[in-house]
Symmetry: C2
Subunit: 359 residues, 2 copies
């Protein structure tokens, strides 16, 4: 392949505008110390020649690379892509993150990294060395991986930890998992439910714990018991089936269930159907994440939306700010989740409803 060179460089612009390279550079980087008239003149040449700075050259000379790495868990991401069940985490990251990047002349590069492997360090370091990104966005379960976090801190590279609340190095951005779990639980309580089951997610993810905590808190504040109402899952469909069975097959079953993700909610729906329980008449159901599949179930699921796009967008903003030298936010950044009401929730049958209405 022929060796391609930059078609039009800063030199051409400088020559065309009759100024030094430096002045052009200053205009490009929007530095204050340039006269308006100069600025205009240079900008005219830039537009005329269609000049665009080479990020490789910019990076070389020690400034920004205009690259932000979005680091996702390799196994889970690939599994999701292959399963084709509609999990659109990466798309939502791109939607929020890439578009925000574009606004500022940055690009987002998706990078897959094994959380588990003993060569996490090597993988990450290699990506950093190769790309020299201006910032890194960590997603669960990386966000609270001590090894990764300390490595990044040592590299002195701005990074955001999505879905984290730990005040470790890097900027944590929470998606308010506990709050939204509480909100969902309260919603069911307000409908008159007293026995509300909860299916938890993989303990590898801290957000699993927070979601359980939110449910627990809401139940407690309403003075409701939770014995036998918590079932363990791991986000997989199979684990959801098992958990739903455990919750629904016995006596004194819950009148409502919250599942920690959509796959497990789907599983619960199937188990309910098999048990001849009609949703929402016999069983109300709320799921977490609000991935595309919630539209297609019968009935469509009321779900807590995981605000990934918004969070990714926020993460990019925080990184660009950090890059500019701004201090990170003092308080935890929280992007709040909202619950999308569909058709899987109703008041419970029978007396419970009345009790609640009186209360």
């Amino acid at each position: 392949m022929a060796r391609r060179r930059q078609a039009v460089t800063i030199k051409h612009v400088a020559a065309d505008a009759g100024v030094s390279l430096q002045t052009v550079s200053r205009v490009i980087n929007n530095e204050p110390s340039v006269r308006e008239e100069m600025k205009r003149r240079v900008q005219a040449s830039i537009d005329k020649l269609g000049y665009v700075p080479s990020i490789a050259a910019q990076r070389m000379s020690g400034s920004r690379s205009y690259l932000i790495l979005a680091v996702n868990d390799r196994d889970r991401t690939i599994a999701d892509w292959q399963a084709r069940q509609g999990t659109d985490w990466v798309d939502q990251m791109l939607l929020g993150g890439m578009l925000k990047c574009a606004e500022h002349g940055y690009r987002m590069i998706v990078e897959l990294v094994d959380t588990h492997s003993d060569h996490v360090e090597r993988e990450l370091l290699a990506a950093i060395a190769a790309l020299q990104p201006d910032g890194i966005i960590l997603t669960p379960p990386h966000s609270d991986n001590a090894q990764i976090v300390s490595l990044l801190a040592a590299q002195n590279i701005p990074f955001v930890r999505i879905g984290s609340e730990e005040m470790a190095p890097g900027i944590p951005v929470s998606m308010d998992d506990e709050g939204s779990a509480r909100q969902a639980t309260r919603h069911l309580i307000a409908q008159g439910h007293c026995r509300i089951g909860f299916i938890s997610g993989s303990t590898e993810y801290n957000l699993s714990t927070w979601r359980v905590d939110g449910w627990r808190a809401a139940m407690a504040e309403a003075g409701l018991a939770i014995d036998g109402l918590l079932a363990d899952g791991d986000f997989s469909y199979a684990s959801g089936q098992k958990a739903a069975h455990q919750l629904l097959a016995g006596p004194n079953r819950p009148t409502a269930i919250i599942a920690s993700n959509d796959q497990m909610a789907l599983a619960t729906l199937e188990v309910a159907r098999a048990l001849r329980l009609v949703v929402p008449e016999d069983l109300s159901l709320i799921s977490f994440d609000n991935t595309p599949l919630v539209h297609f179930t019968r009935p469509p699921l009321t779900a807590v939306d995981q605000p990934i796009a918004m969070t990714a967008s926020k993460a990019v903003e925080l990184i660009i700010a950090a890059q500019k030298g701004d201090a990170p936010p003092a308080a935890l950044t929280v992007v709040s989740a909202t619950m999308i009401e569909r058709e899987s929730v109703a008041a419970p049958k029978g007396g419970e409803k009345i009790v609640a209405m009186r209360g």
Copy 2:
């Protein structure tokens, strides 16, 4: 932000191994003219120091950037991401393309470009100037956009046109739309269907035409009439509703329908339900693309899978080969699609079946 420099550079490796920069460079690029022993010695230092070449520096000195651009239509892509209906085109591109890139030390960057706008050229040129990618993957409808194609050809940059069959500049890779439409139609004919309706896609996409052609060809080879059996859609749900209505509401309606994408198939399913037609008993249905939603409909849809991951992977291979100087394939590269059978197809009721069985 502190100015970050490459932690370990080629210099460190050279010093450690006691050789010149040049030799290290040769080892990195796997050039033949290095003695085995030297190579081993240098490699040992590389491993020891954890050296990874800086892509920016490599790019600067005129060699590869190890970056491949995957160019998608901005409006459509963003609309899909926002709609959250499970369209996973980008994911599948990443699955196939990014993983193949990783095998060769490349990265894939997703880029969104407006097909329509008058500044397509500027957008693309800007991306090329900024990133200096080693290759570009064009997706429909860009793949047959003459403006884009000639621009890229002029840039002397290897590019693949996915979903194209035109022998224009760049390397076309077909997903065999006509062939798979023919296959789907034949499948229905083999089940005994004689009146097979077809809902076409947006004419902005050439593949829409090919899919129609495949259906037409299969109908013709079976000696079946197609009058009143073709309805125009544009890939949207709404257009699918309209087309399905047109096909199903009149007299002498088809016993089977092929929709040019999943959204329109979904719409057809709803229209059929409204018309009290049971799928597949009263109406067989085959859709195109096989996006996640096909799992979740009632019944799950038999669908022609669009082999995006495989195609993206192939595209990356072709670009890397071109980059190395290999000649592009002489013949059109075809990644064949397969039909995934689910539960939306059955033999038609009544006489038609018998006729077909006799034939």
